[in-house]
Subunit: 151 residues, 2 copies
DNA sequence: TCATAAAAGGATATTTTTGTCTTTTTTTAA
DNA sequence: TTAAAAAAAGACAAAAATATCCTTTTATGA
């Protein structure tokens, strides 16, 4: 459905939002561990999110990543289009170069509604909302997030 | 959404079904042209469909690909799982190793319904039905399928 | 000032996907 | 029986995605 990079970006963003809600800035290393992303890859993904203005980054000792309130209000849709391309939710399921009701593929009317519903769902889901799911409902960002608490 | 191979497989299968409905066996070359798939790649994809029993293939002069009535009744879902793996419609959108209501990710309840709807839709859509769309409603399997008629 | 911690950036490596080419096998029909 | 046409099979090539490593820049605080 989504590329690894995109999945990683969503998991990482939600984790950073969660931390920011708790007033905590986080380093790549912690994000990577908390979300089960290879650390070096997480670094790349976060760079990209930072360049796109979806997260703030601060270099140097005591640096790390954080999200302001307004950044937390951005939608998961923005992350997906950043990593999958703007066209993602307008592309033909059968891979035809354009998707349109004028020239539909045989699956067009079957799936176009579902595709739009997914798009809307992601547009309406803020990063903050997803982070709240983690805090309030115990939703996971890695297989055994319980492991975090051990020390 | 789907890999190229999977998109190609669906387009090719629908085209072969259409031809078989017209009582015509088709060669890779024609399938490739009619569906805008690189010919050599189409050959690989069709081999795989044939090994899976979703299409019949006949070697030699006057050979080619065809689909029996029962093959035409197979669903597009079968093609997708063949190329994307059985787990495709049960996988976590955020890439977690398992998707379950027990251990949901923060998007689980948002998307699980849509994912299941897509699954059902593909399960209920036979290859024949998609081919009928092409014949009856003029649905496309390549950008300008009108070009076929020129000679 | 200097050691340390952290992100940024760049180069490289690995794996997967996509795509191509060549040879072999099978079938048909002249 | 032989030439031609077609799929099957295998090897190879190119591109993209994923992953890792190393160096540079920036900030902090001792
Ligand atoms: S044309 Fe294929 S999904 Fe719209
Ligand atoms: S757990 Fe992520 S979609 Fe079900």
């Amino acid at each position: 459905m989504f590329s690894k990079a995109c999945e990683y970006a969503m998991r990482a963003a939600v984790y950073i939002a969660k931390c920011s809600m708790e007033g905590k800035r986080v380093a790549v290393k912690e994000v990577a561990e908390a979300t089960d992303i290879p650390e070096a890859f997480a670094s790349k993904v976060l760079q990209r999110l930072a360049r796109a203005g979806l997260v703030d980054s601060l270099r140097g000792k005591k640096g790390g990543f954080s999200m302001s309130a307004s950044q937390q209000k951005r939608s998961l849709y923005e992350i997906v289009t950043l990593f999958e391309g703007e066209a993602y939710f307008n592309s033909c399921v059968l891979g035809l170069p354009v998707c349109s009701s004028q020239n539909p593929c045989p699956l067009h009317y079957q799936v176009v509604g579902l595709r739009d519903a997914l798009k809307k769902s992601l547009q309406q889901t803020t990063i903050r909302k997803a982070a709240t799911e983690v805090v309030d409902a115990g939703a996971r960002l890695r297989f055994s997030s319980e492991d975090d608490e051990s020390h």
